[in-house]
Amino acid sequence: MEQVITEAPPSAAFEGLELPTPLEMGRAALGFAALGLCASLGSDSLASASQTAPSGLIVQAGAMLLTGPALLVGHQFLGLEASVPSLVDAMARAFVRTGTVALGLVPAVLFFSATSGLAPVLFGLAMFGMGLNGLFDAIRGMGQAEREAGAESGRTLRDAKMQLLAVGWAVLTGLIGLRIAFHLGGV
């Protein structure tokens, strides 16, 4: 007797993929927001404080949200094999790791905010360093996702295309992040 299949079998590319949980994403967002808020506490003026406070979350999340769709479009346009959820997962995990570091830096930044005028400078440096590291993380994650997807044949060309796409996306995201940061800083 023939067996009638009423549902499509689950795609192998989606199996085992666990996107960050809402709790992890929320904690990362909290880390960025808290870091910016702590850096703003020692500001000389309310105007300066109101610009610094939300900048952590706006810069990090904003840059990634603005450039993420472009990456996905480029990925499909180049005919690459990794699944869209795996690419989103790579970006999301980079955001989560960076946000976790931001949360860990809150006590130190708060200390400087309370005792000196250095907190905004240190906040800017920390955001730059964390942003760079986050982008490298995302590039690595996306490269791995592409390597794990698709057949063995043509892998070298696909890997090269993926690296180029990921680096280009990272540069664009970094520049947009800097532009948003300068805009919030009044430059």
């Binding site: 506490l41 020692g42 000389d44 790791r97 960076t98 976790t100 570091v101 931001a102 949360l103 860990g104 830096l105 809150v106 006590p107 130190a108 200390f111 400087f112 905010s113 309370a114 005792t115 000196s116 005028g117 250095l118 907190a119 240190l122 360093g129 590291n133 993380d137």
Partner: protein
Amino acid sequence: MDFFSLLAGVLRDPVGVVEATDDSAVLQQRLPQLLGMAAAGAALFGIVVGSYRGGLQVPYAALKMPLLLWIPVMLTLPATRALWAATGQEVSWRRTAVAGLVAMARMGVLAAAAGPALWLVFSLQPDYHFSVLLLASSLVVVGLPGLTVLMRALPSNGARTVLAAGASLVVLGLCTAQTGWLLRPFIARPTAEVALFRPIEEDIFSSLNATTHSAVGDYQGWDAESKGLLRNRR
């Protein structure tokens, strides 16, 4: 393990001490000993530092020096744990705290050991600005072996861990420098009134810049402003 065996362990095999202490029962037993090592060693170092000016500055510096070792480590531990988590290595809070505790004990003991050499220089009453720079350098020299314990006691994951360790040391260095500025004076200026704390103003970097210029005879003057959330509001 008796106190002197623990002391020897902190100096010879600090990572081994961290491994053995990463257990609730052992930690409960060793906590007062490790805190005592850190506090006593730092206090002895503080006595030497305060001897430059003498009088009340001696007990004041002895009181504040343990805080100089503890506060930056407490501020940096969350960042260290987060940086390690970013490399994919989850470290428990207890492990992080024990590593920090052993690091502080090691720093305290090394600081006490460096005391006599520092006292020898201070007994010659060198220039004030030179003495401040010498104190800062001494803290770096005794601090680094202690701080590397913190890095070595946490799990390693290749190059990414090295990056996390470097970033942690930067955070720790900045916090230590600012804490030292906040808790000043340790070496009171010869003409200044001896006080437990000075007002919160400027920051360590502008101060070191001014002190460095003064040490080479370039007296530019320094207009210190009160800054930060805890600044004097007039």
